[in-house]
Symmetry: C2
Subunit: 605 residues, 2 copies
Amino acid sequence: MASLLFLNPNPLISHRSLFLKPYSLSSIPKTITTTFSFRAKCSLSRRPDYIPNRISDDSFVRIFDTTLRDGEQSPGATMTSKEKLDVARQLARLGVDIIEAGFPASSRDDLEAVKMIAREVGNTIDEDGHVPVVCGLARCNKTDIDAAWEAVRHAKFPRIHTFIATSEIHLQYKLRKTREEVVTIARDMVGYARSLGCNDIEFSPEDAGRSDREFLYLVLGEVIKAGATTLNIPDTVGITMPTEFGQLIADIKANTPGIENVIISTHCQNDLGLSTANTLAGAYAGARQLEVTVNGIGERAGNASLEEVVMAIKCRGKELMGGLYTGINTRHIVMASKMVAEYTGLQVQPHKAIVGANAFAHESGIHQDGMLKHKGTYEIISPEDIGLTRSNDSGIVLGKLSGRHAVRSKLLEVLGFELDGKELDDVFWRFKAEAEKKKHMTDADLEALVSDEVFQPQVVWSLGDLQVTCGTLGLSTATVKLIGADGAEHVECAVGTGPVHAAYKAIDCIVQKPVTLLEYSLSSVTEGMDAIASTRVLIRGENSHASMHALTGKTVYRSFSGTGAGMDIVVSSVRAYVSALNKMLGFRAPTVKKTASAESSQASA
Amino acid sequence: MASLLFLNPNPLISHRSLFLKPYSLSSIPKTITTTFSFRAKCSLSRRPDYIPNRISDDSFVRIFDTTLRDGEQSPGATMTSKEKLDVARQLARLGVDIIEAGFPASSRDDLEAVKMIAREVGNTIDEDGHVPVVCGLARCNKTDIDAAWEAVRHAKFPRIHTFIATSEIHLQYKLRKTREEVVTIARDMVGYARSLGCNDIEFSPEDAGRSDREFLYLVLGEVIKAGATTLNIPDTVGITMPTEFGQLIADIKANTPGIENVIISTHCQNDLGLSTANTLAGAYAGARQLEVTVNGIGERAGNASLEEVVMAIKCRGKELMGGLYTGINTRHIVMASKMVAEYTGLQVQPHKAIVGANAFAHESGIHQDGMLKHKGTYEIISPEDIGLTRSNDSGIVLGKLSGRHAVRSKLLEVLGFELDGKELDDVFWRFKAEAEKKKHMTDADLEALVSDEVFQPQVVWSLGDLQVTCGTLGLSTATVKLIGADGAEHVECAVGTGPVHAAYKAIDCIVQKPVTLLEYSLSSVTEGMDAIASTRVLIRGENSHASMHALTGKTVYRSFSGTGAGMDIVVSSVRAYVSALNKMLGFRAPTVKKTASAESSQASA
């Protein structure tokens, strides 16, 4: 490989310098005493006006969210257009600077989803005057760039993000192109994107972490000349160490001709668990755009997670990173995390930093001892800072006698959902039915019901009745009544290896769309034997819904998730399956009507 | 606070130096070109002989696993003695240098569990001549230290780990002690531990990351004089940045009197998602013991995860960290991860680095394109390196006609379980029963059955028969037959809000031990409608099984998990509940007989 020609003659020294500052101990002040009296409480500084290739305040770091593109292409994370729109609205509410809404060339559905987000979210100015940039991904070819531009051009701030690999290993084995060819393609395609009228172009040299430095500076310098405004440096395979990645950014900043006229960006994969640290090292070294995903989802071990990067900057940016800050309103983090987990089916582990179920759970002892005496003993971030309300904090306790108004208030106050009209009716009646069976409805119970009603795709089939017999003694039998879009009732029965198998077979007899069940999971939402169970399934239809993978260009088949809630696990399993089928059957719908929930959530932003 | 008195007069400069090497750009060679032709393949260097306070090879880093102590105290992660022994054996197989087996003063059960691990695992020398150190945690008081010594003293290499907080915030609000008092206590208690005959003492200044540096050097210097052999530096609240933590280790190394005679250790919490990066920065700065947990479990956002730290050192230690290496046999990582997830109920997210379900899952396109042409394009660690075998890799496909021998071979070859005698019989008959219903048994199906049979507590109650009726139309009813330890059959029926509620109520009528159901979850093990479902429940008995929290000394109540597998989700739910009840009812058993599985897994090590 060509890069072997440039080996440093004294590898030990350069490696030390790459990894950590050598400890010239004489230079260290004897008493570096840092005080940690803080719990995160920086007030939001005003966000500088958006200019593609520069930021008026050098301490401001842009947050570029790629949940809808990189996150959505991870196995099983397919979202419908409506779900993508919901997520995009939540990202806008979070105050994300740039939303990468998809890869428009991958399929017509993707293009339409990005276009819808560009039109709606890309033109909705919030009360602080902020409107996010809407970005579409494109490989370095005219077809992709045309599709991306068609999708994003209606946004107030449209951006095209184009990429090509620059590492030797990718040039040789994937692209089969020479360095000269790659430089020409990159320059020409950035120029082509500008020629369409787009003045905000991001360019990524894929696998930059393993690319020859001199070649990298050359490619980047050329695309700057051609009109790129942001240069994104991905650690595509997730193997760099923090100081090594920081050094890469610093080197690019020091050696790329024209770099002072563009924004440098990071995009770190998490294969060794270092994506957050790498991203922060990049910011410290001069990157002013950080690419992240909610919950850190993405292919393989995912990407740097928005909540970790943002909270680290919020907690330590002022003190340790030269005053860096972001425009994120962190109080919307928890809702964004829940929504993305719900829609993609990629649940976060209990010990996930910031948004895991245990992240703020202290064993009772600690609360009584350190915690109550002084919150700072163990808690460095206050739960309220990320929008986490503790169960029944609001004081409203719901029971079966609660009225519509109490349910509506609780939803708004504690959970942040604002529902009206039919959606409120649906949730209210489900609530009454469950409350008949259960004494105390907790916030989490209610939230599960809301998710079940509100986060649902358009209805093609709905569940009428279900009757099941099962156990160790005999054959499991299920009888299912489904109601079609036309109101007609269909009843079928089937025998299976268990109650869910039997019920799903009965549904298949009615729906007549062959699918494969890829995943099935179920968890209780709250404590207690009469807790509401939330079920999630992932299905894939036969020979349908092809999409294209961004990095390889190969065809991948979409899978669809569905969720259902209820106190009967068989019933909730059936609801989830029907929901996934509806999602699959409704996926191709080119436009999604603006629902009441969408409007109201917009209003509450 | 006193630390305010020592503020650096030029904060900007010191902050820069704390965070990252300043970029004196003239000193950066123009062509730092690193080649990444590797996929992790370092051969295992020979592990230096164990001497508590020094390591003959300065590049060797000890791995200290605290899954059984810090991990087990996280909410809901309680393990039985038998489970702890299984995990300890797996840690020994991994080649962990030190196993922190528990906090013996917390309860009699804990003490007995640590003692059992010290006796068995602490005296089993593997084929490479390695036997792990067995360590017990103790607060800085004689009762705790006595308990720890009683528990670990039978190991070949016993260690006592004692700790006291040193940060101002903890001194003021938690300990209510002066600095002088803390120094005296620390020195005296380390001396006391040595006086018992223990020559391997680890000392931790809790909340070291927020402690005044000069005071920290003083405390550490005093405990070295008193006989401490390892000094562990915890980032208790998980707020340090990598270079900041590296600097802390470097400062301690540079300024603590007598530090050259002891080992420095790291213990990093993950509250900002930086624990792996912080741990590696600590190692680079001179720490030669790294405290980690399998899957990164632990309170709040958990600890640095063993698999991330070990694989990062394996991948980059030679090249970027001055040749650092560990003694871990990484091929046992996957099994350790599965076992810990199974026993603690803390599942890892799909995008968890190294051990997540998606960590090695590439969308099909990538395989055909980059991957097959050259594995290094996207894969930096080979799945085999961590012991991950892909489904049906062995070529043995099991069906209902497969015999005992085929099942045994499959278990051994692919899954690493070596079963014989009754355990093989049990698994074999369960296999036959399920295979009757299902055409193809995948490795994952088989593994779920093995987990269900082998990872079970001692049987107090076992499931006879179950019959359930449920659905949207009527009241869910379950009839359950349980068989007691004496062989007597008990039958009860109950009505509930769903089939599981009904069945659990029926079981409660028979068992008559009031419990609270804390968590319930269920997931399919494989694709397809007739997949085996694995259910997990977490219960807590009334007024029983108190334990003490290590850091606060407060009482916490243990909870017990149980798992069950089967094609009928109601049946698997009932199995899980019976398993959790058995675990709770059998928890107090002081000694656990050496089971066939334990012996055979020892033999296969």
